[in-house]
Symmetry: C2
Subunit: 452 residues, 2 copies
């Protein structure tokens, strides 16, 4: 093996500097999930193919990574299937398991399987990796982390309010102050589709509308006209001209639609609550063009964008689904959830300089190594400082000082503890500030965490 080894295309190694920033984000998300009463679960990376297949549409199904059966089981490979170009049948003959494609289907499986062990309504969060056999390209990975919070088993519209507040709390703590939450409702979209004559082509209507952010209102209207002989182009245009649509206007237009009224009532409840008490720090806005591609949403839908630059795509999204667990024979389990786009959030925080400076220090203190006799004398104070929460690296070898200091500087360490021959005799150490270069001698007995 003469080539330098590498990780597979579309996957990533995380080096310490990047990982500590990712963990900073995840820790803040997790802390707030917990403070809002969500409980953490984890599901295995491996799921049965029967659990995964048929849940993500034809395109999604093709992107599931399949695990080859091990041992003798691969003898059962169905050759005739592949000769007939029936890849699926061939695959099924040699694979029983696949890698988790998202956290939503495993959640539905989990809730159905463990329904008798769970306390309902069930508020869970989950932060785990998922895998997709997408063609690797810039910003799209085959392995990435999803962070989801969901409430299962209640219709209460107050959950949407809690989730928006949770979003707002987390994005504020991460340092964002330019977030806009866009909100819409699948029932409003249904009424909308009926009103403009697309009621019988709802799925197409939603999937085209979902592109508004990317291709603009005019292109959306063009595409919609292509799939319908609707006479309602003017209705459509006037509704999609963003500045004109208010929830009040829709209330009059959709007056005859039960769907429309119910959706509008939900959105009003949410916006009314949130507008009181300065409930959130960022902006929230009803957006009739917000559609969200996923086909399991049935109620409120929600997306997180940068107010000043929506072209980077959403930093998170979510919505209500009435029937997710029915895939697994568990009916009447309305749920609502949100998700965080960790990689996009990371990129934006880098761009905006939102990561705290302390993350650049790999540890707090370096102990310069003069040999094991010196370390024996230093070890009790090192233990004391570590117990007080200081991160301390002892340089591994007794080597030249400049090599040790260069290592310390590469790690961007703030302080060095130095005990040479003189200090050893006097029971002292030097504490050197690695930034200013200043240093002072202290008796070993006087060393305490507050000096650093």
């Amino acid at each position: 093996m003469s080539k330098t080894p590498s990780n597979p295309k579309g996957t990533r190694d995380f080096l310490p500097s990047n990982l500590s920033k990712r963990n900073y984000i995840i820790d803040i998300i997790k802390k707030n999930f917990l403070s809002f009463g969500f409980l953490q679960i984890e599901t295995p990376a491996l799921e049965r193919n029967s659990t995964l297949s048929g849940k993500y549409g034809n395109e999604g199904d093709k992107l599931i990574f399949k695990i080859l059966n091990s041992g003798d089981k691969i003898k059962k490979a169905n050759f005739s299937a592949i000769k007939k170009n029936n890849f699926l049948e061939f695959t099924n003959s040699i694979s029983e398991k696949g890698l988790r494609y998202d956290l939503t289907v495993p959640l539905a499986r989990f809730v159905a399987q463990h329904q008798n062990e769970l306390i309902f309504p069930f508020k869970r969060f989950q932060i785990q990796n998922v895998w997709r056999a997408d063609r690797p390209q810039h910003g799209r990975f085959q392995e990435f982390t999803q962070c989801d919070a969901d409430i299962i088993g209640t219709n209460s519209i107050f959950q949407e309010i809690e989730l928006i507040k949770l979003y707002d709390t987390i994005f504020s703590e991460l340092g964002f102050n330019d977030i806009i939450f866009k909100i819409n409702h699948r029932k409003i979209l249904n009424a909308f589709a009926n009103y403009v004559g697309f009621g019988n082509k709802l799925t197409d209507f939603i999937s085209i509308l979902d592109k508004t952010d990317k291709i603009g209102v005019n292109s959306v209207i063009n595409e919609l006209n292509k799939i319908s002989d609707s006479k309602s182009v003017s209705k459509l245009s006037s509704l999609l001209a963003k500045e004109n649509i208010t929830i009040e206007k829709l209330k009059i237009l959709f007056n005859a639609s039960d769907n429309g009224k119910r959706g509008i009532e939900d959105i009003n409840t949410i916006l009314n609550f949130i507008s009181k008490n300065n409930c959130i720090k960022n902006k929230i806005q009803f957006d009739l063009t917000l559609a969200r591609g996923l086909n399991y949403y049935t109620g409120t839908i929600l997306e997180v964008n940068l107010n000043s630059n929506s072209s980077i795509g959403s930093l998170g999204g979510g919505g209500r689904y009435d029937d997710l667990t029915s895939f697994f024979n568990l009916k009447n389990m309305s749920g609502v959830g949100i998700s965080f786009g960790l990689d996009r959030i990371f990129m934006q925080m880098e761009l905006q300089g939102l990561f705290p400076k302390y993350l650049n220090h790999n540890f707090d203190i370096i102990v310069i190594n003069f040999g094991i006799t010196y370390l024996e004398k230093l070890y009790p104070i090192i233990n004391k400082l570590r117990n007080a929460g200081k991160k301390i690296d002892i340089y591994p070898d007794k080597v030249k000082l400049n090599k040790q200091f260069s290592y310390a500087n590469k790690h961007n360490v703030n302080y060095a503890i130095i005990m040479g021959e003189d200090e050893y005799k006097k029971e002292e150490v030097i504490i050197k500030n690695m930034k200013s270069g200043s240093q002072s001698n202290y008796s070993i007995k006087k060393i305490n965490p507050e000096l650093f």
Copy 2:
């Protein structure tokens, strides 16, 4: 789909109560890794088959989960190979990637690949899942978590001391006070094998010796006699009779062996340092029968056991390896590392009742739901308490009180915040202690985190 769905055999769903305990362990391990100056990395679950294969021996290779190539690539399936029962060739024709089998080979790949971006000596830790196609059985899983800390790029024996101290700190903080660290050295084992006449059968000697804990000294001697016509049975017996072997005695016996002397010097350095200053809280003991199965160890080897019950197997282990990255063409990178057996640690902590009681509370406070008008008035104080770090769940729906209290009790909540019609009018809330049943009224303005 009429059957209840399930996770694949050999994998686990983690429900909140178990996961919070697992995370308690992992958080303590991680905190101490950081305080000892280790930096975290993560590698992808997917590795190239060329990275994984040939590293784990024949048996290990068979246990690697292979990923099926996606899309048209499976057309290249080599049928003739499987007809010839050449499973490996068939597998290679339809798979390029596999799932991470441990964290050690990916570390070696990572260090070789990123050598120019890393700061050496490189102290890294890694806490990630690994996958093995073992036959599922009690206590053995196909997906489990490894926690490893390693120092790469130094021969310094002081690293062994730091790793033992790290082990001691972590196991003490987890609540164990009955740990014994067993220590040995591959160079001592080499000298030992030569001394008793097994020098030309070193691998067999080590793998049989490694079973001492399981089958006992007498069976080990029997098995060793089977593979050698050695005349040194008495030498072997007297050395393996545990009470007789001290490091001082070995020093005399192995006086002619450079290997032996070097190994004994290392062990002495470690034990001498640790015996001073009450360096560790648990016990440490030289153990000539400790062998550790893995074939990449070349120096110190180390294992963590319960002193009172070694039959449960080790809670962790590690050792020094001189040449791990040479798999990937990077020479002279001596490393040393330790690993934590998370599942065994978990089991022992459950048995010994070492998990803190607060982990039984899913959250701190439940807010009883009297409807959205009440929640509007309560929301500012809920935010205040959440910001102060309290975990608060608001019951999702406005339903009967006994249903809400039953939910709270199932979650083992300490306090309930109640605002009914009377309290609403008086701008008050009731704080009810869910354990004692006692309750008091407070003005909304007086609510602060110290009340809970």
